[in-house]
Amino acid sequence: MAAQDTSPAPEEVAAPTMAPHGTDYAAIAMRRERRNNLALVSPALLILVVGASGPLVVMLIYSFLAAGDYGGVVWEFSTQGWFQVFLQRDMFDDTIGFADAHLSIFWRSLSLAFITTVLCVIFGFPTAYFIATRPPEQRSLWLFLVTIPFWTNLLIRTYAIMEVIRNEGLVNTALMKAGLISQPIQMLYTDFAIMLGMTYVYLPLMVLPLYASMEKLDFRLVEASYDLYASRMNTLRRIILPLVKPGLIAGSILVFVPCLGAYVTPRVLGGGKRLMLGNLIELQFGQGRNWPLGAALSITLLLIVMVALLIYVRNASRQGGAHG
C-alpha cells in the first residue's frame, strides 16, 4: 500500500540488504511513528509560537525600528533603541555619555537580585535541611507548607508584606506601642522593602530544589565524616555543601532570574520610584512612548537571563557527567 513512498530513511541506509519483496517495514513504522508524534505536538507548538515565542522575534525586529511620536513604531531602520539602552546624547552639546538613570536601574536590579538570592540561601538552606531530616512520613507535609505560598497569588503575597511593613502597619504599630520608636520607620517604598518582598515571594523557589538534592543525600557519608573526626561545621562545609551544590545552583538560578525581571514587587513595594528593569521596560511602553528602547531593554534582560540559564545548564550537565 505505502510501498511507493519508500525512499530509505537515513537510519536505514546502513541496512545491508532489503527485504526480498522490497518493502522496508521498519522504515514505514518509524515514519508513521514520527508522523504521529508531530501531529500530537503541533497544536501545543502552534499556540506557543503564536502566544509566546513568535512575539519575541517581532520584538527583536521592533528594537531596530524608530519610535513613533505617540507610542508604536515608524517602519524605518534605526539603532536608536539599542543606543539608548546604556548611552544618551546630551541635549545641549550633543556629546555622547552613559545614561546614568538606566545604568543605576541596571545596577539596582542586579544587586537587588543578587542580595535577594543570598538571603534566600541563608533562610532556605536550613529550611530545606530541616525538611530533609524529618521522618519520611512528615516530609511531604512540611514540603506542602512551603509549596502553598508558592502557588498562591504573587500579588496577594506582595500585598500582605506591604500591609505588614507600611507606616500604619503591624510592625511599626507594635514597635511604637512597645515604646522602641516614637515615629514609624519608613520601610515601604524603599530598596529594603523590595528586597524583603522578593525574598518572601521567591523563597520557596530556593527551598524546593535544595530539598530535592538534600533528600538524596546519603547520611552514611555524614556519619563517615564524623567518624573521621570532622566537626559539625567541617561536615557541613566539606561534605554536605559540596553534595547539595547542584540544588544550591538550581535554586539560585530559580530565584535570581525572576528577581531580575521582577515587575509587580518593585511596583507595589517600591512605589513607582524605586524602579527595576521590569518597571523601566514598562515605562517605555507607557509614558515613555519609546517602544524600540523598551524592546531593546527587554531583549537585554532576556540575554542576561539566558546567560544565567546557560551557566546553570552547563553546570548541571557537568554534574550529570561527573556522576556518570
Binding site: A15, T17, P20, A29
Partner: protein, 393 residues
C-alpha cells in the same frame, strides 16, 4: 545451520484442538501446515552509520506447531529482539517472518494472532484480574457471553478463580505471572511468546511455574516461543532450543543434543560446565571420529552434523563424563589434584594437567563410597568412549 530433526520430543496435544481466532482465520486461512512461524534471513539493525548495531543477524528458523521452542542466550544476544520482531513491536530491517505461510511483516502487533507474556507482566493496573484476561477478547469484539465463558475457563486453567475480582496490584508475583499467562492465552493465539517470564520469581516459585508452563502448553496445544538466559530452564522445559549469540543462532536442537553434542565452543561453554582439550583426529568413524589426546590416549568422539573433522581440533568433555582414579596410569589423562570442592550431591575435583591446564571432574557422592583423595595427589582421569565432542571452532 538449521537442521531439521523430525519427531524430537513432540508433545501430543491431548486436549481439544484450539481453533485459531476468527480474525486470524480470515486473514491467514486455516491451513494446518507443520510450521507455525518461519523466519527467513531476518536481520534487525538499530541506529545508523557508525552507531549501527546489528541486534539480529540473518536468522532463519522454522518453529513447528505445538512446539515448546526456546531462544537461549546471554543478555544482548538478540533473543528478545527476535521475539519483538515476531510480536510486531519491531520490524525487520530485512528478511521475512511467516506465520503459517503468510508474511506478517507488514502487520502491526494488534493484527497478529500472536500474544506475548511480558517480562514485567505488563498487567493493566486499573483493571481487575478478570478484566485483564477479558481485554484481548473485548478488543476482538467477541460476544459478551463468549468473553465471560473464556475468562472463566482461563481463570480455572491458571487456578485463579478465587481472585477474579482482585486488582492486579493486590496479588503476589506468582499470581501476577498466572494472570499474564491467562491473559495472553485467552484470545487463543497461534503462537505464545514468553519473554523471560520467570525471571522475576524466586527459585521455588520458578520451579513450580516451569511445570505449570509445560502443563499449559500441552493442555492448550499452542506453540510456545520462550526466551530465557537460564540454561537449566531451557533444558528442562523445551522441545527444541536455539542457542543465540551476537544476533546469530549458533545451534538448534533438542536439549539432549545441545547438551551432549554442542557444535561450538560458545554453546558448550554457555550450557553446563565444560573441559576443553586439544586433540588430533586419527580417523573419521560413522558416526563420530577417533581422536588422540596429547597424553597419547585414543578415544571415540562425537562430531557435529555436517562436519568432516581432520587434523587438530578442540574437544569438549563434560565434568560428569569423566572419573578420577587413584592410579595415574589408568586414565586417559593424568595430573595433580589441586582442589576438592564438596557440593552436597556431588564433589568437584580440580586436576592440573601437564599440557591443557585445569580439568574439572564431577562425581556423585554416594554413602559409603567416600573417595580418599587429597590435594596434591597424582591421579588419573578416566574418560568414557564417546564422551568427548569435537567442536567446529
Amino acid at each position: 545451520m538449521y537442521r531439521a530433526c523430525e519427531g524430537v520430543g513432540k508433545l501430543q496435544a491431548t486436549v481439544t484442538q484450539v481453533q485459531p481466532g476468527e480474525r486470524a482465520a480470515a486473514r491467514l486461512g486455516t491451513g494446518q501446515g507443520a510450521v507455525a512461524i518461519a523466519l527467513k534471513g531476518v536481520s534487525k539493525v538499530f541506529g545508523s552509520g557508525a552507531d549501527a548495531f546489528k541486534a539480529v543477524d540473518d536468522v532463519s528458523v522454522d518453529i513447528r506447531q505445538n512446539e515448546f521452542f526456546t531462544l537461549l542466550g546471554p543478555s544482548g544476544c538478540g533473543k528478545t529482539t527476535l521475539l519483538r520482531l515476531i510480536a510486531g513491536f519491531e520490524h525487520p530491517t530485512s528478511g521475512e517472518i511467516r506465520l503459517k505461510g503468510k508474511d506478517i511483516s507488514p502487520l502491526p502487533p494488534f493484527d497478529r494472532p500472536v500474544n506475548t507474556v511480558f517480562q514485567s507482566y505488563a498487567l493493566f493496573p486499573h483493571m481487575t484480574v478478570a478484566q485483564n484476561i477479558a481485554f484481548g477478547l473485548e478488543m476482538l469484539r467477541r460476544p459478551k457471553s463468549e468473553v465471560q465463558e473464556t475468562v472463566d475457563r482461563m481463570l480455572k486453567l491458571v487456578r485463579m478463580e478465587q481472585l477474579a475480582n482482585r486488582r492486579t496490584s493486590q496479588i503476589s508475583g506468582g499470581q501476577q505471572q498466572r494472570v499474564a499467562l491467562a491473559r495472553a492465552l485467552a484470545p487463543q493465539p497461534e503462537v505464545l511468546l514468553l519473554d523471560e517470564p520467570l525471571s522475576a520469581l524466586d527459585y521455588k516459585l520458578r520451579k513450580e511455574m516451569q511445570i505449570e508452563l509445560k502443563r499449559l502448553q500441552s493442555e492448550t496445544g499452542i506453540t510456545f516461543i520462550f526466551v530465557t538466559h537460564d540454561q537449566e530452564e531451557a533444558l528442562t522445559m523445551s522441545d527444541r532450543i536455539a542457542v543465540m549469540s551476537e544476533g546469530n543462532i549458533l545451534q538448534i536442537g533438542s536439549p539432549r543434543e545441545i547438551y551432549d553434542h554442542p557444535a561450538q565452543r560458545f554453546v558448550a561453554d554457555f550450557i553446563g560446565e565444560s573441559n576443553f582439550l586439544k586433540a588430533e583426529v586419527v580417523r573419521p568413524l560413522d558416526p563420530g571420529a577417533e581422536i588422540r589426546l596429547p597424553s597419547g590416549a585414543t578415544l571415540t568422539a562425537g562430531v557435529p552434523e555436517g562436519m568432516r573433522p581432520a587434523g587438530s581440533v578442540t574437544v569438549v568433555v563434560r565434568p560428569e563424563h569423566a572419573r578420577v582414579v587413584a592410579d595415574p596410569a589408568a586414565g586417559a589423562l593424568r595430573g595433580r589434584l589441586t582442589n576438592i570442592v564438596y557440593f552436597g550431591t556431588d564433589t568437584h575435583y580440580h586436576v592440573e594437567l601437564p599440557q591443557d591446564g585445569e580439568f574439572i571432574v564431577r562425581m556423585q557422592n554416594q554413602r559409603g563410597s567416600e573417595a580418599s583423595f587429597e590435594t596434591g595427589d597424582e591421579v588419573g582421569i578416566e574418560i568414557g568412549d564417546g564422551a568427548p565432542q569435537v567442536l567446529k571452532d
